[in-house]
Symmetry: D3
Subunit: 328 residues, 6 copies
């Protein structure tokens, strides 16, 4: 992919106005009050693996409407806490996968939580059951999840998911091995959007994240992203509007409740972003739009010749060094 | 697409053994008894259109679990019945669309019913609401519907859809303008599979179809189709098994309750099939497999140089002439 | 296709200067005088179909040089006129097809004429003979018709076609069931260009169209279109100039006699345009260029997330409502 | 392209029965008598080029119906004959191009004639006018020339071209610098088919070719070729039959008058063929089918890992060595 | 990718004859004697990472001609041996990458060695220098390494690499934390081929591997693989032969010294293979060909709906369970 | 390819500042002094071909470090000089090929030298050995040559090649049939870059070129080219930087010693450039950047609708006419 988005100079100051509804905060307050409160009830079942250095657990907690959401917990074998923790959110299509899919955080000495995003997981082998999504499949929705229930913020897929997301932070803090004051959230692409949502919305549950790593975050600056790129998953929304042009206003209104610019603007923890200048999936201008609105201390790493893969191992090193610093 | 499947000679006698479970009939009997019985309650709302020659209705009836399913009814303007009817089922991804999308049947003097397949419609503009699907979105399912709930026949998407399908035949027969003894079912691709399902399973509801037109039907001879072709939607199943190889037996078992070979083998109405020898979406051998098992009088039209589009207008003429003959 | 052309704001006022030769009107006057006059001699043969609601006719009339051009005429069964009429022109590659391919106009109570564009029809099944093109196949011309005879306006393919086009309006007015004061012309893509040509050039034959529907019209603003997009058929011209760069001036000169901006600028009937902002085949700026030059009353419907398919059924509804308004 | 056709062993003996009509010879006798006789009238105009070693001429001769066909003649500068000559036919889409496009034959000391195939030349820059094709453009024909007039052998494009082809051999023999007893015909792909046609049909004009080089010849064994491959130009025929399935018999009947197996079976000059085992454009089995029917002395060079490009320079060396041998 | 290779039944017994030269063993004996002997001189430099659970080392050893080859060593933090070890070889294009790219073996308690294959690493971010390849870049070689020096076994790239490969096993055994009797070799694709080479050729250095995991191994059964598939890297050889057809015999002769069927036939350690039935990169028949010749105890895991990615996490679990079994 | 680069107007004045290091001239002076001096020792072996009009020679000369570089020399048969000469450099991937691959220069009466670029030739059949490249294959380099040794100007591939290039001019001047005052250099794409290098750097060897034809030259204005286009070979650099982002400064520094803007700025011979406005491989702005810096008399031919193929035969005519003029 050649360069197609704003120049590095323009990105450095690209901070479009927030595109959010007046009742954004009220919407989320109501959402958590009605669909995301009560005992988070983290359950933790040991799983036998061949990993002698890691204690592995199949976990679940209460997410949207109290439904149980699945995931993994990895701890350094025999660790006694309290440990700093990383709550990892996953990219679009990626479920929790195998417990050994990402060992970097536990190798670094962190308690590592992984969400199994509801109704996802179609791209990842998995040995354990994932999280079903109970939402109605809307007639006419594009294949995938980007337009599921998109005709109203109340029914939108990501409303359910963001409740699950925040409640996992809450759940992590209840684990005896975890130091609740040192919980980082982290993820790339959709996982980055979830991390921003956790950072910006956790206060609705009275919890706080200590750090937020958002690699090439998705779901940011919808009004620019949709139509700027042909790449999926943003293209799911364009596909939907191509067959249902009459719903454009409604759809854009719904999305404005979930925009990463707005969640970023409500966050306060230190953040590390990354962007690829050839990234057609989450174009760099949409990442910078969220970055510039991020309300906490922040840094961003730019990879000029990379696409959505970002810096890969280079960014892993960058994140780990940064986590060591911000989580002390 | 070059020729890639069996030769015309081999197709002429390609009748692989049925691949069905011993309790196939029991499963469907139970399905209709538990989830597809009761008053079908056809509701018919006139819709104002610019079509002076056609009376148009937004309809609904009770399908799976009594849920209301949407669709269209078109009648020649001012027609007094009883008319012969065509119940049309749609291809994968296609909802009911606009009321004027297919005018051929009403122009031919038939009452024309169209289903809005639950949770579909992502490829077709529509001015009226479609049918939502209430099934849970299974974790790990491929995007689309082919693997929704596929780990058990009880939860499989097509179980819900086939109940909707049969009940529409039932509903059509209750309309005063329709002659219940002259109801044809018709469709292409997934619509062909639904037509075969209607023809083969309607007896569970005590009704009968008078004719069955199955163009390039989908969902036939799964054990051969999956892996024979790279084309979607069969590929959705292969995609699922690529990430969840451990569920292969379970998946193939579920599919065996929905195979068009088996529904065909239970049909008795006269049928017209079509096949394209370059069809990678519903390969000709899978169509012939169902054709040879079809238990009623049958004809098949073969298009050597066509793919999944089949004979297009030529097949329309073929169908209309055949309908005129078999419906008298 | 992502957005690639001018922004909505820029489109709203994008009216480039006409790019037409001084003798544009003289050229067309001479063309009709020498190659498009005399008795139009509409012939109408009933065709037996299964459509009980429609009277169908295989028609022909005298077009370029008096050659007979083929088409369809559909009338509501048993209709006694005079009826308003729609003369439909087809997209590039599309012949008259089957008589039942587009039933919307007759269902709406209109007399419906369809042209079989000379030498086209390679994309559409057809049961009846089409119109051959008698023009010499020029050495070096790109495959297709866009560069046939393009080295001089006198020999260009579209000169012959536009005579056929105007003469069909003339012919339609001679049919006893048709009200010659209420003839609309309509078409999409190349059909839109033909509709504009009919609206702008019909006066050369002393006739008038009552309305002009041009969906995503082709052949507009050649100097911008060629090279702006990689999509065919505009690309045929670029392909030709890639091997014959020495003929660039001559080719652009020829095209300037056929530009939809110029035919639009000579029209007076009410018009309805449509444009898709992701349309790479007839880019929106080229559509708007013609729209802004259109000399009659005009409206345009814009589909932001659609390509060349435009609004599909939504635009059908829009056209039918508009026709009902402007034709009475 | 991976191997997709018959194995080397199977090719070695792949000689399917001729697929030709009973009146094949009568058809061609009549064709030449009615449309390809009379004075061939070779005209030769010197062209100034920068090539000091080559005398270059813009030529024409009387082909189909006496129409003038264009081409090049290259002679070693200042050569006094009589020289052996190579008459070169071109691949599909390729016109005569520039006079210096192929200098190998004149560098080898041969008189070199090049045809400008009527209506072709869309892929090649050219400084001089080419040969127009006067045939009517048939309604519904696929883009390109493979289905032009294909509904009857009398109107088929290749009937006109093959007359031009044979008459060029005749014309070459009338040039004072050429030894008429040492005229080779040569070409690749469509050029190979023309070379076979020259070799097999020249006797209708009372002339003879002394050698025939057919590289990866096209237009051979139509009944197998069409549908075996997705590649154009054979695919043009499949495209046509996809929209006009009702004309299949007629089309295959027409093609049987032009099959390279049949022209090969009437040739007597020594021949050199080539085939690429990964050639999807002229699949090796279709080349071998013609090779095995070739009635003169013959050799074939096989390139296992090449597609339609065949052996490129390696085959040039092979041809030049072979020409030196067979032309003495 | 649809199924394209032999059926499961045919694969179960597909054991083509070995295609190896008479001096295969002599060639390798001479190779190690002349280019792969002397002190292996493992050097181990600690690398600071954020991985508190892992001790990480930048290593090098003497490979081909005594040149230093680079890699990683990972040990469980603070482990005192002797540990069982896994020597991991990498896929084509993949260098050693980051030290944390694959943590599964160390998490399982193994000493984990990784090679940086000479001249590779173009697909993987890396923080530390890799291994240069000193071989001359052969004129005309295809891009990549498959045809580097391929005109003679003495100069072929894989000769150098296989020496590096075997010497790493030797080097691993010299590390004080490693139990030399419990060294497994493992890899996928090219890494699988290297693992087979280690297993089959290590005896030339007087060492032995204790287990061999070859996932979808590459470089097996060249005479079938080349031309069976269009996929790279096998296609590099076909690309070379397409331009240099005259070297076919020489090339196939060279490859026969490196075929995984032959190295497998000389191995004795227990082995675990995997194959994907839709794998176009290392087609299943070529994997089974090596499997059936493997001379030690062996198992194979087949993934019917997977391509070259094989079973991913499922195969990881399979391998880890198997390693636990065979290394103790 | 649609237009994607600067407009014709902007190109007409697009002269970005040179991007060159202060020691550019010193670097090249040192390079020639240390690696490109001494007797050039042209060797010329007659090759038997079938070309009676051409005397053909397999040649070699001393290039980088005195290594022998291969090539062709073609002379008009029996020519006695001194002749003007054309030294032809080849495009990326193209070796010397067959001696008869390009006959235009010898047909025009020139002595014609062709280089076999070291380590290239993977796209061209060749009957004679090419030039190996002795440079070390750098770990992590992208496939191809663009990043070979790119971490320092001293080790970069093009340093070796540019020495070979200049020394060929030197060698040509030593041939008795050649007039050393009338040596033109010529080439397209990479060959154009080599021609510019010859024109700009030959003075380091005390020789001069008399004319420089640079068609669509590659390796110009690296800082813009890389990332502007997705096309290879520029993309090789982006690919490298995508996996090794930490080396960006070093890489761009190395490239600045080889930029065609800088070699052009040191040339004095008359030059002819060409550019295609749809050229994604060597985008027109990068060509114009070099053109505007070219220090001698200069002309440029622009092909608006062509890509990297440029004007093909039209440009051949243009070059030959220009050569005749500038070489007298």
């Amino acid at each position: 992919m050649a360069f197609f988005d704003l120049s590095p100079d323009a990105l450095a100051s690209y901070a479009p106005p927030l595109d959010e509804p007046a009742d954004f905060d009220a919407f989320w307050a109501r959402t958590f009050a009605e669909h995301g409160s009560g005992d988070v009830d983290l359950r933790v079942e040991p799983v036998a693996t061949f990993m002698t250095l890691v204690d592995t657990y199949d976990i679940s907690w209460r997410g949207w409407n109290g439904e149980r959401v699945k995931g993994w917990l990895l701890l350094p074998a025999g660790a006694s806490g309290p440990l700093p923790a990383v709550v990892q959110y996953t990219g679009y299509s990626i479920g929790r996968g195998m417990p050994f899919d990402k060992l970097i955080y536990v190798a670094g000495g962190y308690a590592h939580f992984v969400i199994d995003a509801r109704g996802q997981g179609w791209a990842t082998p998995a040995s354990h059951p994932g999280t079903d999504d109970t939402g109605t499949r809307m007639a006419g929705a594009a294949r995938g999840l980007m337009t599921e229930g998109v005709l109203a913020p109340e029914t939108y897929y990501y409303r359910r998911l963001f409740v699950d997301v925040v409640r996992l932070v809450e759940a992590a803090g209840t684990h005896p091995a975890v130091d609740p004051a040192r919980i980082a959230v982290a993820g790339g692409s959709q996982g980055g959007a979830m991390a921003l949502a956790a950072a910006g919305l956790a206060s609705h549950r009275g919890v706080e994240v200590a750090a937020c790593s958002a690699e090439v975050p998705f779901l940011c600056h919808f009004t620019r992203a949709i139509g700027l790129t042909d790449a999926y998953p943003y293209k799911e929304v364009a596909d939907y509007l191509a067959v249902h042009p009459q719903h454009r206003g409604q759809v854009m209104d719904t999305l404005s409740y979930f925009d990463g610019m707005s969640t970023a603007a409500r966050a306060s923890a230190p953040a590390l972003f990354s962007a690829g200048l050839m990234d057609a999936i989450t174009p760099p201008s949409t990442v910078f739009a969220a970055y510039h609105h991020y309300a906490g201390a922040k840094e961003i790493e730019v990879y000029p010749f990379n696409g959505h893969e970002g810096g890969r191992g280079h960014q892993v090193e960058r994140i780990m060094a940064w986590l060591a610093r911000v989580l002390r």
